[in-house]
């Protein structure tokens, strides 16, 4: 919303306060200022001039050659294209050397004729909307008089962020803003000049019926004998400065009141609309608005009808075309009403029409304001058109009366919440400045909330804390630490381990962390040939068109790999993110935190990538979690290679990994090998921990032995591993796989493993006899499973 400081100054004297200070204090105490615009400084040497002579231009049929009197000694010749030029007309004239916005006025030749200056249109000067010709000024104005002495075109326009006014219905008009300034700078707020509507109580009542609870109040009055059509120059100026356009006197007046008081008003042509019935639509209604746009209003919306129940306006949003004010209107029915904020919001959103009126109604306007608005409109109308006659009594249907509410608090509470010691008198003073009535009851303060703050903003004592300290100045509150018991902090182990995993993946395994979206990308999945069925869907597709939530991180990561495939030969990415793959018995989402890894390489073999995943999985589980992993071939998920993939178990299943199915890999990037892992982080963390026990070392000399065992190729290495782990002996036994040997000629369908074993005796030195005995038992253990020592 744009605030004109000149307009504000009509209600509160801000003399002696710098503009910067005004803007700063307002920003710190009330609402966010988006911009400050100093207007009127780009108008120079514009004066009142009288047209003395009008001649047709020899080279143009729309230009005229004028002689004007601008107060200089000699008449000035100027070429002008406006159609409304005529002898005797007084207008604004920009002299040579002057300026109108971007345009510097210099002597020029227009279609070959000399021109020294410019007759100005109201639109060019920014003082009215009219673009049809030059300004027509009152004849009483003195020739040569500067525009600055006639119109306050120099102004400071403060644009306030509408969002920061959401909870302040009272700040949607200049008078409310002036009230804030008065409170901030502790200056008196001047009362509004109002007509007295009670003077018409003898006149006939209007037929106003309200049939919906969503219309809290409907106040109305009719006025006849309106003959003036044009608003005052200052009214036009203010409307234009505040971002509206002047149209005609009656339309301008309702807009002016809205900008001044924040109360939207509507003027119906009284010749068309004689009475009002406010209804809730029970069937769709099509309405053509003043802008000749047709809207379908859905059942439930509030509709203003005339006394024949013909719809004449969409309540709180827009007036209808038929009943609107036209050039011939000379009697009007004025609407000043208060509607339920949510009902207006709903209708306005449904039909996609957000107007100045609906924006204000959405904020829960003060219902006490409707009469003030009428009184103010009558005052201003009479000032411009002395001949008008009020033709009805003020008719006010006030069904849902605002109930005055009071808040009980005390100075001590307010001070403690702020962390500042304020005197009670200071608190009372601030609240009073803001329009609250404060009554002292012993230690308590009984605070009555003014109606313009009470519709939704201020209702509890904490609200008063805000009122007091925003006026006191938040910047005056001193920072202060707290007194709290010293206690060790519980670290959430999952959160810690999650970070440790990320850290290890990046720092030890050279992986890059990515963040992605939780949507399931159906198009991409389809393109690479995987199927992912979401358990949860968005009710309305995201703006990027996705609807399902992901059930696995892998497709997301493959998509990222896909997007980077042409920029990198090797891709190693991971994410710890949520998947949503089930609903519990209460139909609530089951969320799992997963670690996903995708490795892709053009140089490394898929086997190596697969083993890197195993190394990572074991690192995480052994070093960060303390659990032991087992791998069972193959994985269940169809995205994996049918044989070269596995399920990962830490007691129960915690994930899967493997080489990506070649059919999918080819569709992403045929040059690259892919390996993929997905682990359930929370399952892994909560899996049973290995209890760690260190082995006592021995002072005796260890002996290291190598064994070459030959097994069928189909025998997995884990079989050998199990034999060793189950082998019982009195020595400390350590082992490692030293070599694997495959030779089609000599070994055929066999495979040879070289296993290094170190045995350390606990209580004596090993004799060659001991070693021989051990070796024999060891070899026998293998032989029993058909794994033979190779010579």
């Amino acid at each position: 919303m744009i605030i004109s400081l000149n307009w504000i100054k009509e209600f509160v004297n801000l003399d002696g306060i710098e503009i910067d200070e005004i803007v700063k204090r307002f920003g710190l105490s009330t609402a966010e200022v988006e911009s400050v615009n100093y207007v009127g400084n780009d108008i120079e040497k514009v004066v009142v001039a009288k047209i003395l002579k009008v001649e047709n231009h020899p080279n143009s049929n729309h230009l005229h050659i004028l002689q004007v009197d601008d107060g200089s000694e000699q008449p000035v010749q100027v070429v002008c294209g406006a159609p409304n030029v005529r002898v005797g007309l007084k207008t604004f004239f920009a002299q040579v050397g002057g300026r109108v916005k971007q345009l510097k006025i210099k002597p020029a030749k227009l279609a070959g004729v000399e021109s020294n200056g410019m007759c100005c249109g109201g639109n060019e000067l920014g003082i009215e909307a009219d673009t049809s010709g030059i300004v027509e000024l009152d004849d009483s104005l003195k020739v040569g008089e500067s525009i600055f002495n006639i119109l306050p075109i120099k102004d400071v326009l403060i644009e306030v962020d509408n969002k920061s006014l959401t909870n302040r219905p009272d700040l949607w008009g200049h008078y409310g803003i002036a009230r804030e300034f008065a409170a901030i700078f502790n200056r008196p707020l001047k009362p509004l000049n109002l007509d007295d509507p009670s003077a018409y109580s003898k006149l006939k009542k209007l037929n106003i019926k309200v049939e919906t609870k969503n219309c809290f109040r409907y106040s109305s009055i009719t006025v006849a004998n309106v003959n003036k059509k044009v608003s005052s120059a200052i009214m036009k100026l203010r409307l234009n400065y505040c971002g509206m356009r002047d149209i005609n006197l009656l339309a301008d007046l309702t807009n002016y009141i809205m900008l001044e008081l924040g109360q939207p008003m509507h003027a119906f042509d009284n010749a068309v609309v004689k009475g009002i019935t406010v209804i809730e639509a029970d069937k769709p209604i099509v309405m053509e608005t003043l802008e000749h746009e047709k809207h379908t209003i859905e059942p439930g919306a509030i509709v203003i009808c005339d006394d024949n129940r013909e719809p004449v306006a969409i309540a709180g949003v827009k007036g209808g075309l038929k009943s609107g004010i036209s050039a011939n209107t000379n009697s009007l029915l004025i609407e000043s009403a208060c509607f339920d904020s949510m009902a207006i919001r709903k209708t306005s959103r449904k039909i996609g029409l957000i107007t100045d009126a609906s924006t204000r109604y959405e904020k829960s306007l003060d219902p006490e304001l409707t009469i003030t608005a009428i009184a103010r409109l009558l005052y201003l109308l009479k000032e411009i058109d002395g001949g008008v006659k009020v033709s009805s009594s003020l008719t006010d249907v006030y069904n849902f009366k605002y109930s005055i509410h009071t808040i009980k608090t005390d100075a001590d509470f307010i001070c403690r919440r702020g962390g500042v010691n304020l005197k009670e008198t200071e608190i009372v003073n601030i609240l009073t400045r803001l329009g609250f009535k404060v009554e002292k009851q012993g230690k308590n303060l009984l605070v009555t909330v003014p109606s313009w703050r009470g519709t939704k903003d201020v209702s509890i004592r904490e609200d008063l804390v805000e009122e007091v300290f925003r006026m006191y100045g938040y910047d005056n509150i001193k920072s202060s630490t707290m007194c709290m018991p010293l206690k060790p902090v519980d670290k959430l182990s999952t959160h810690e381990i999650e970070y440790e995993i990320k850290h290890a993946l990046a720092s030890i395994f050279n992986l890059n962390e990515v963040h992605s979206y939780v949507w399931n990308y159906l198009d991409f999945n389809k393109q690479i040939g995987i199927e992912q069925n979401s358990m949860l869907h968005l009710m309305e597709a995201s703006k990027s068109g996705q609807t399902g939530l992901r059930v696995s991180l892998v497709p997301t990561l493959l998509k990222i790999a896909d997007e980077n495939k042409n920029k990198f030969e090797d891709i190693s990415i991971f994410e710890i993110g949520r998947v949503f793959d089930a609903l519990d018995e209460n139909n609530l989402a089951v969320e799992r935190k997963k670690l996903g890894i995708v490795l892709a390489s053009e140089s490394e073999k898929d086997e190596k990538l697969y083993f890197k995943l195993k190394q990572i999985a074991e690192y995480i589980s052994n070093n960060l979690v303390g659990a032991n992993l087992e791998f069972k071939t193959p994985a269940e998920n169809k995205i994996y290679h049918p044989t070269n993939s596995c399920q990962i178990f830490a007691n129960k299943q915690v994930g899967e990994m493997g080489i990506l199915h070649p059919a999918i890999a080819k569709k992403i990037d045929a040059r690259k090998q892919f390996a993929v892992l997905e682990l359930d982080v929370n399952e892994l963390i909560s899996s049973p921990k290995q209890t760690f026990k260190y082995l006592p070392t021995s002072k005796y000399q260890p002996v290291s032995l190598d064994f070459n065992f030959v097994a069928d190729k189909s025998t997995p290495y884990s079989t050998l591993e199990n034999i060793i782990n189950n082998f019982k002996c009195n020595y400390i036994l350590e082992h490692s796989l030293k070599d694997i040997y495959i030779n089609e000629q000599t070994l055929k369908d066999k495979i040879s493993y070289t296993i290094n074993v170190t045995i350390t005796p606990k209580d004596k030195t090993l004799s060659s006899n001991d070693i021989e005995k051990f070796s024999k038992r060891f070899i026998d253990a293998f032989a029993s499973q058909n794994i033979i020592l190779r010579n």
């Binding site: 710190l28 403690r416 910047d475 902090v489 949860l536 949503f580 969320e591």
Partner: protein
């Protein structure tokens, strides 16, 4: 005997002079002093010496043994030194300016910043909590005092799910659960991924991260809130920062504030980061609304609290000078690989 000894020592001297390596020395040691070495053999002759001469001969032999020992040791040391010098002298000259393998892994910039902020808060006694991404309507809205008909609940602002839940629109959705979980007083922060049904552009995302904090105790004041914000931001920006509060409006706090920080990049003089305003709007915050406390079973007559919501994305963008929020969720490795492990 003396003659034999002299012969052996002369032999030894010749041998040692010719010795070139540690291995040569070792061979000589065995030849002279080993189990069947030349001097060791002489000791065996003692048994044939008459008793009254045994002691003198024994002394003679021991002297010879010691002499041989010290000659060999001296040579061994000399040879070892020589060998070491040789090894050093002949070593391949390594060009250390050649590149070593680099750590090419990286954390997401958000993770880096999040960790940094978490560490500041944990050092001040805050617990770090975790929240859901899919929340109930109650937790996301009702529990934090968002009115039934509030626009935020609309379809156009919130991602509603077909089971009636929502993708959480703010980290405040976790407040109720955390307030119920911990005994009072509470100091907690909870980072998390949030969602809004927005058009995505350089300044807006439908998926973004926040980090929220709450403090609840018997006498929490606005002054305390200012204290914690100031301490935290001074630590993050690694300099004493100035902050200011302006009025804000959120259903879950009363009073509510927008918190600005004096631009740490230009010290408030005006720069592109603060759009020449000297201040950066950083953090909505406020005193927890009594209804929010009540909803969590906390008596607002007895307790008060403050809450703040830091935009993690914004902090990340500020920290690293990222201008386009879309980069954060883009998976663009050209960008992401530039970030290391720590800020």
């Amino acid at each position: 005997m003396q003659q034999k000894i002299d012969e052996i020592l002369a032999y030894l001297n010749n041998k040692l002079t010719a010795a070139k390596s540690s291995a040569d020395c070792q061979a000589i040691r065995v030849e002279i002093l080993g189990k069947s070495g030349k001097i060791t053999e002489l000791f065996r002759l003692i048994k044939d010496v008459p008793n009254e001469q045994k002691s003198a001969v024994g002394q003679l032999l021991n002297g010879a043994k010691q002499q041989a020992e010290s000659l060999i040791s001296a040579k061994e040391v000399a040879v070892a030194n020589e060998e070491l010098n040789q090894q050093i002298f002949s070593a391949k000259k390594i060009d250390i300016t050649l590149p070593a393998p680099k750590c090419t892994g990286s954390l997401h910039p958000r993770t880096i910043v999040q960790r940094e902020i978490e560490e500041v808060f944990t050092s001040m006694g805050f617990v770090v909590e975790d929240g859901n991404e899919v929340e109930t309507e109650y937790n996301n809205f009702t529990a934090v005092n968002v009115p039934e008909n509030h626009p935020a609940r609309d379809m156009q602002d919130t991602f509603w799910l077909d089971n009636g839940q929502v993708l959480k629109t703010h980290t405040s959705a976790s407040q109720n659960r955390i307030l119920k979980k911990y005994p009072l007083p509470i100091r907690a922060i909870f980072p998390g991924r949030c969602f809004r049904n927005e058009d995505v552009d350089a300044g807006h995302e439908n998926t973004f991260f926040q980090l929220e904090g709450i403090i609840v105790d018997k006498e929490v004041s606005v002054g305390n809130l200012i204290y914690f914000m100031k301490e935290m931001l001074s630590k993050i920006f690694k300099k004493e920062v100035e902050i200011r509060l302006r009025p804000g409006f959120f259903p879950f706090t009363e009073p509510s504030f927008e918190m600005d920080v004096r631009c740490p990049f230009c010290d408030g003089k005006g720069c592109p980061t603060c759009k020449n305003g000297g201040w950066i709007e950083l953090c909505p915050c406020g005193m927890i609304h009594p209804q929010v406390l009540k909803n969590a079973g906390i008596n607002p007559e007895e307790y008060s609290g403050c809450a703040f919501g830091l935009g993690l994305d914004r902090m990340t963008m500020l920290t690293f000078g990222i201008n386009d929020i879309r980069e954060l969720n883009s998976g663009n490795l050209k960008l992401l690989k530039q970030f290391g492990i720590k800020n």
